[in-house]
């Protein structure tokens, strides 16, 4: 894989259900699309200290419908730039799901995931196997359709389309 690392291990930041894109990156910061600027305010309205506490390689775990609301790609951009290695949620809102794959932010949908702040999670993006090393529980995330795997392996939709344009398929 060129775009993403297959295996990720990191400390968990746990969030509840229906975490919306205004909580992930409030619109008051959307006068810019600079990833580093957006990262400074990532998850701010859900947890004001999050941008300062988060460390590279940490994992976000959330309940159902993560990323509901706006189409703003700034939301997964902010999470990725904040250093989050992977988002595991019970379910994702559909635009966020597409956006995360398109920009190369690893995400996994896992309806029965259980984890708390500070737990250590090990995630195999290839097989979808998630191990909560703190509780010693293993979970299986839903598999991505082959076509999405291909986008993810290339590191996002931009590289995928670039390849298509270069091949002159259009």
């Amino acid at each position: 894989m060129r775009g993403v690392t297959m295996n990720i291990e990191g400390k968990v930041w746990a969030f509840g259900q229906d975490i919306d894109t205004d909580a992930i990156i409030p619109a008051r910061y959307l006068s810019t699309s600079d990833p580093e600027e957006l990262a400074k305010h990532c998850m701010e309205d859900a947890d004001p200290d999050f941008p300062r506490k988060v460390q590279r390689g940490d994992i976000v775990v959330a309940g159902k419908n993560f990323g509901c609301g706006s189409s703003r790609e700034h939301a997964p951009i902010a999470i990725k730039a904040a250093g989050i290695g992977c988002v595991v949620a019970r379910s994702f809102a559909r635009i966020f799901y597409r956006n995360a794959i398109n920009i190369g932010l690893p995400i996994l949908e896992c309806p029965d995931i259980m984890a708390q702040d500070g737990d250590v999670l090990s995630v195999d993006l290839g097989t979808g196997v998630i191990v909560n090393k703190t509780t010693n529980k293993e979970y299986q995330a839903a598999a991505f359709p082959g076509f999405m795997q291909e986008i993810m392996e290339l590191g996002g939709l931009t590289s995928f389309i670039k390849q298509r344009i270069e091949q002159g398929s259009k």
Partner: protein, 419 residues
């Protein structure tokens, strides 16, 4: 097949599609705004794309932080203006011609029945009111659409919502959709097409249908859609500058779920903080004092919405403790409201009337809330911090409820004014 499946099949060049299938389909229109276009333009360049697929069919509307609220916003609009000029886009709209995108595009006949539309704005689903398949995407998806004129989709399962009966006075499309979201939840239609039908829908105006389709995303829907009828025809026939097609679901179409409700006794609905699913009938709201009222947005900034608000505000004054901001959705709606005397009514009632902008709906500008403040708003989202401070509160309602609340200084319906 359902109307959604038929449109997707046709645009994918297939005789049939089934839910769950992944397809590549041709798009009729690609849309972005001043928040999402800058990211799309950067990705478009990185893709190595030189020209957009069709300069008539890529539409850029700077409507969110415009008229430019600060230097950073001005820079963002400048970037898309330069792109629009370089690409010779026909449909780039500056302040003065600009309107809120989802009010503007149907008004100009840029979106038509049977179309497949993607927009880098979650409320792109609004165009389903015309019998089009329209869905929100992110900026990178939009960039790919601008470059190739096509996009990938997972064919959604359809959920049918059948509304029976006859609506009470002051009950609108906004109330139907808030009720629907209240019943099924903010992820009740996640990834699904929401198809609205029944005699109540047949009787509903185009403006009411736009409001309903607009909020399909608030139930997690991929799109909201209505079968086009004579109301659709009379709306589009003077606006269309290209062919369009009426598509409807087969009687044998299959649905993941069907909801049937008799809404004859439905009251105006108010969605409490901090999710649109927290809908309650107006009679169960209680005494909640408010600080601000916003009437406008891609949800409720159309002429019928302004008429409804004006009919409540006529001869009355906004409560001394309340700021009321009215935002017509487009310049044409603004002029129509002037011609009908609605703007006079708003100003006489001591409401502020603004040029079209998304501004306060997403906490951008033109009416930001302070800590502890409460607003009644005809917009679409009441998430934490949506209209300003994370400790402010937004209550979603229809324009008549918003207007009555403005007069009384608390959340109230027109009935509380003996209307």
């Amino acid at each position: 097949m359902t109307i959604t499946e038929k449109i997707l099949a046709k645009k994918a060049g297939k005789a049939k599609v089934t839910p769950g299938e992944l397809i590549f389909a041709k798009i009729d229109l690609a849309l972005a705004n001043d928040i999402t276009a800058p990211v799309a333009i950067k990705e478009f360049a990185k893709m190595g794309a030189a020209k957009v697929f069709d300069r008539q069919r890529v539409v850029l509307v700077p409507d969110h932080f415009t008229p430019n609220k600060d230097i950073a916003s001005a820079e963002q609009v400048k970037m898309i203006r330069e792109f629009a000029r370089e690409q010779e886009l026909v449909n780039f709209f500056e302040v003065g011609r600009m309107g809120i995108e989802h009010c503007l595009l149907p008004e100009l006949g840029l979106v038509l029945p049977g179309d497949l539309v993607i927009g880098a704005d979650s409320h792109t689903c609004t165009y389903g009111a015309l019998g089009a398949f329209a869905t929100g995407v992110g900026s990178t998806d939009l960039a790919a659409g601008m470059a190739l004129g096509e996009a990938w989709f997972r064919v959604p399962e359809s959920i049918k919502f059948v509304f029976h009966g006859q609506l009470q006075p002051w009950v609108t499309g906004k109330d139907l959709i808030l009720y629907t979201i209240g019943q099924i939840g903010v992820d009740g239609a996640r990834y699904c097409a929401m198809e609205f039908t029944g005699e109540v829908i047949r009787d509903l105006s185009m403006d009411g249908r736009f409001t309903m389709a607009n909020m399909a995303i608030e139930a997690g829907g991929k799109n909201g859609i209505f079968a086009p009828d004579e109301k659709t025809e009379s709306y589009v026939k003077e606006r269309a500058q290209r062919d369009y097609e009426f598509v409807e679901s087969d009687p044998t179409a299959s649905y993941a779920q069907v909801y049937e409700w008799d809404v004859s006794t439905l009251e105006p609905q108010v969605a409490f903080p901090h999710l649109p699913e927290n809908a309650r009938p107006i009679s169960e709201v209680g005494d909640i004092p408010i600080d601000q009222v916003v009437i406008g947005s891609c949800t409720n900034g159309r002429i019928e919405d302004l008429r409804l608000a004006a009919s409540v505000l006529e001869g009355r004054k906004v409560h001394p403790h309340v700021r009321t901001i009215v935002i017509p959705g487009t310049q044409a709606i603004y002029r129509q409201a002037m011609a009908e005397g609605l703007i006079e009514t708003f100003i006489a009632a001591e409401a502020a009337v603004s040029t079209p902008t998304c501004g306060p709906c997403l906490g951008g500008h033109m009416g930001i809330l302070a800590s502890g403040e409460r607003a009644v708003s005809t917009t679409n989202r009441n998430f934490v911090g949506r209209m300003g401070h994370p400790k402010s509160e937004v209550y979603l309602a229809n324009p008549a409820v918003a207007a009555a609340s403005a007069v009384l200084g608390r959340i109230a319906g027109p009935q509380d004014l003996d209307l």
